[in-house]
C-alpha cells in the first residue's frame, strides 16, 4: 500500500521507517479491537459457564416439581417460583402485547408524524426509566395501604414490557408494503379492517417475535417485583394473583443474599433455569426477527 503525499520527501514510499511505524500502529489497533471483541464474548461465556457449572449439580427433576424445602433442610425445588413467574409474566404479556401493538398501529397507521414522533419519544424514555422506579411507582399506587400482590407485580412488569413490544411492533408494521394497504383501500375496505385483515396478519411473525423479546426481558426482571411481589406468606404453589406470588428472580435474589452455601447452590440452579430460558428466547426471537425483516423488505 503506497503512502503517497502523506510521506515527507526523502523517505521511501514503502518499507521506510515511517511507513513501518504506521503499519505497526495499525496492527496494534487491529489487534486491540479483535481482543476487545474476544473479551466481550469471553465475559458472556464466563458468566454462562459459571452458571452451568454451579447450577447443574443441584438441578434434577425434583427441582422443577417440588416446593422449597423448609428452612435449613436440603433438597426441595422451585416449583412455586416457576408457577408464580409464569403467571406474572403471562399477565404482564397479556396486558402489554395488545396495548403495545395498538400503540404501534396508532403511530404507524393513524397518527400524524408529529404525534407519532412524540409517542416514539415517550416510549424510548419509558424504556429508560429505571425498573426499580417503576417498581416503587406501582408500590405507591397499588401496594401502599393494601398489600403486595401478583396483580401489582404484573402491572409493573407490563410497564417494563410495553416499550419493548411497542417499539418492535412499530418497526415491523412500518415495513408492511403500502401497496397491500392500497389494494385494501381500492376494494373499499375501511382503515380498521385493513389493519386487522391485512397489516397485522402480514406482520404477525414480527409481532410475535417482539412479544417473545418482551417476555425474555421481563422474565428476568427483579427490580419491579421487589416492592410488589417479594414477601410471600407461604411457600406453597400460589395461583391467585391477589396475593404476593413467589417468582424466580426474587427467589434468586434472596437466596444470593443468604450466607448459607446450600442457598447459593439453589440460587445457581434457579439461575441456570432462568438464564437458559431467557437466552434461548432471545436467540430464537432475534433469528425470527431477522427473517421477518428480510421477508418484508425483500432484502
Amino acid at each position: 500500500m503506497g503512502a503517497g503525499s502523506l510521506q515527507p520527501s526523502g523517505s521511501r514510499l514503502v518499507g521506510g521507517p515511517r511507513h513501518r511505524r504506521r503499519v505497526a500502529v495499525n496492527r496494534l489497533v487491529e489487534a486491540g479491537c479483535t481482543l476487545a471483541a474476544i473479551l466481550a464474548v469471553a465475559v458472556l461465556a464466563l458468566v454462562v459457564i459459571s452458571v452451568l457449572i454451579k447450577g447443574l449439580p443441584a438441578l434434577n427433576l425434583g427441582f422443577f416439581t417440588q416446593e422449597p424445602a423448609p428452612f435449613g433442610q436440603p433438597g426441595g425445588g422451585i416449583a412455586n417460583s416457576i408457577v408464580g413467574s409464569a403467571i406474572l409474566v403471562g399477565l404482564a404479556t397479556a396486558i402489554s402485547v395488545p396495548v403495545g401493538i395498538m400503540v404501534a398501529v396508532y403511530t404507524t397507521q393513524f397518527a400524524g408524524p408529529r404525534v407519532a414522533g412524540a409517542i416514539r419519544f415517550a416510549l424510548d424514555i419509558l424504556n429508560g426509566v429505571p425498573t426499580i422506579v417503576t417498581g416503587v411507582f406501582i408500590f405507591g399506587l397499588m401496594v401502599v395501604g393494601n398489600q403486595q400482590s401478583g396483580w401489582a407485580a404484573a402491572v409493573a412488569l407490563a410497564i417494563v414490557e410495553l416499550p419493548i413490544v411497542a417499539r418492535s411492533a412499530q418497526e415491523v408494521l412500518a415495513l408492511v408494503p403500502r401497496s397491500l394497504q392500497e389494494a385494501g383501500l381500492a376494494l373499499g375496505l375501511r382503515r380498521w379492517r385493513i389493519v386487522v385483515r391485512i397489516v397485522v396478519p402480514t406482520a404477525a411473525g414480527g409481532l410475535i417475535t417482539g412479544a417473545v423479546l418482551g417476555v425474555a426481558r421481563v422474565a428476568g426482571e427483579t427490580a419491579p417485583l421487589l416492592f410488589t411481589s417479594s414477601i410471600f406468606s407461604d411457600l406453597g404453589i400460589t395461583t391467585s394473583p391477589s396475593q404476593a406470588m413467589p417468582n424466580i428472580p426474587v427467589t434468586i435474589f434472596s437466596l444470593s443474599e443468604s450466607p448459607a452455601p446450600a442457598d447459593h447452590a439453589r440460587a445457581w440452579a434457579a439461575a441456570l433455569v432462568l438464564i437458559l430460558f431467557v437466552l434461548l428466547l432471545s436467540v430464537v426471537a432475534r433469528a425470527f426477527h431477522e427473517r421477518t425483516r428480510r421477508r418484508l423488505t425483500g432484502r
Binding site: 479491537c33 464474548v41 397518527a111 426499580i132 421487589l226 435474589f253
Partner: protein
C-alpha cells in the same frame, strides 16, 4: 387528506346502502382504542413522574434540597440524606463507562471493519446477549465469582502497585465500588457497542475509499473518516449506556455492600440511589422513611430521564433507533 383517503370515497358511496354495522361501530371504536393506547404510553410516563414526586412530597418538604448534600440514612432517628448515594451512582457509572466506552468502540471497529463477514452477525448477537443476562444473575455471579477474585487477587495487586493513589488504597474486599463498577461495565457494554456499531455503519463508503486512496492504513482511515463522522453518535451511545448504568438496582445492591459512606477508595463498600431503594424493600413502610425512598427514586428518575432525552436527541440524527 392524502390520496388513499380519497380513493376510499367512491367504493363507500357504492355500498352505502349496506355499510355494515360492524364497520360503522368498528372504525371509530378501533381508532379510539388505538389513540387511547398511544395516549396511555405518554400518560404512564407522566403518571410515574407525578406519582413518585407526590409520594416524595413529605420528604421533600421535610428535608428540602439539603437532602441532596446530606450524608445519612438512619431510619431510627428518621434522618435521611442522599449525598453518598448520588456520589456512588455517579462514580460507579462513570468508572463503568470509562472502561466500557473504549472497549465498545474497539468492538464496533472489529465488527464493522475487521471481522470476516461470516462471523460479524454471530459475534454482534453474542455481544448483545450480554444485555439479555438477567441482572440478578449477573449480581449472583458478582457476589460468588467476581467478588472473591477481586478481594483476593485483583485488589491486593492494584493496591500494591498503585496504592499511592487514594482510589486504590484501602482494604481489599469482595464487595464494594469496584465490583459494582465492573458489573455495570458488563451491562453498559452491549448497549454502547450496538449503538456505536450502527453509527459506524452510517459512514459513507466513498469517504472511506477516499482515505484508502490517499494511502491511509485502516487505523488512519478510521481516524480520518469514521470516527469524526461518528463522534456525536458515540457520545449518544455513551449517554445511553450511562442511563442504563445509573438505573441498575439489583445487581448493584448485590455487590456494592450498601454502605452510607463516601470513600475515596474503590475497594470500600458504597451505595447508589437505585441500590439503596432496592435494599430497603423489606423495611419500606408508610412515613418519612418510605417518602425519603421515593425522594431517592425521584432524583434517580430525573437523572435518567435527562440522560435518555439527551441521548435520544443525539442518536436520533443517525436514524438508527431501530431496535431499542
Amino acid at each position: 387528506m392524502s390520496t388513499p383517503a380519497e380513493i376510499q370515497f367512491a367504493p363507500r358511496r357504492l355500498s352505502e346502502s349496506h355499510v355494515k354495522l360492524v364497520d360503522r361501530i368498528g372504525e371509530p371504536l378501533f381508532r379510539a382504542l388505538a389513540a387511547a393506547a398511544g395516549v396511555a404510553s405518554v400518560g404512564i410516563l407522566v403518571w410515574i413522574a407525578e406519582s413518585v414526586f407526590n409520594q416524595a412530597g413529605l420528604a421533600i418538604s421535610h428535608f428540602g434540597l439539603a437532602f441532596l448534600g446530606h450524608n445519612t440514612w438512619n431510619p431510627v432517628t428518621n434522618d435521611f440524606g442522599a449525598a453518598s448515594f448520588i456520589y456512588g451512582t455517579v462514580v460507579s457509572s462513570l468508572i463503568a463507562l470509562l472502561i466500557a466506552t473504549p472497549t465498545a468502540i474497539a468492538i464496533a471497529i472489529y465488527l464493522t471493519e475487521l471481522a470476516p463477514r461470516r462471523v460479524r452477525r454471530p459475534i454482534a448477537i453474542l455481544v448483545e446477549l450480554l444485555a439479555a443476562i438477567p441482572s440478578v444473575i449477573l449480581g449472583l455471579w458478582g457476589i460468588i465469582v467476581l467478588g472473591p477474585f477481586l478481594g483476593n487477587h485483583l485488589e491486593p495487586f492494584l493496591s500494591g502497585v498503585l496504592g499511592w493513589i487514594p482510589l486504590f488504597a484501602g482494604t481489599p474486599s469482595p464487595y464494594g465500588m469496584l465490583n459494582a463498577a465492573l458489573i455495570l461495565t458488563i451491562m453498559a457494554l452491549p448497549i454502547v457497542t450496538s449503538v456505536t456499531r450502527e453509527v459506524f455503519q452510517t459512514t459513507p463508503g466513498d469517504l472511506k475509499e477516499g482515505a484508502y486512496a490517499l494511502g491511509a492504513t485502516r487505523w488512519e482511515m478510521l481516524r480520518m473518516t469514521v470516527l469524526p463522522v461518528a463522534r456525536p453518535g458515540i457520545v449518544g451511545a455513551v449517554i445511553l449506556g450511562l442511563g442504563r448504568a445509573l438505573g441498575e438496582a439489583i445487581a448493584v445492591t448485590q455487590v456494592i455492600g450498601n454502605a452510607t459512606q463516601i470513600s475515596s477508595s474503590l475497594f470500600a463498600p458504597a451505595g447508589t440511589l437505585a441500590a439503596q431503594i432496592a435494599s430497603e424493600y423489606q423495611s419500606a413502610n408508610p412515613g418519612l422513611g418510605t417518602s425519603s425512598l421515593m425522594y431517592l427514586a425521584a432524583i434517580l428518575l430525573v437523572i435518567s430521564l435527562l440522560a435518555n432525552a439527551v441521548a435520544w436527541r443525539i442518536v436520533r440524527r443517525f436514524n438508527i433507533m431501530g431496535r431499542r
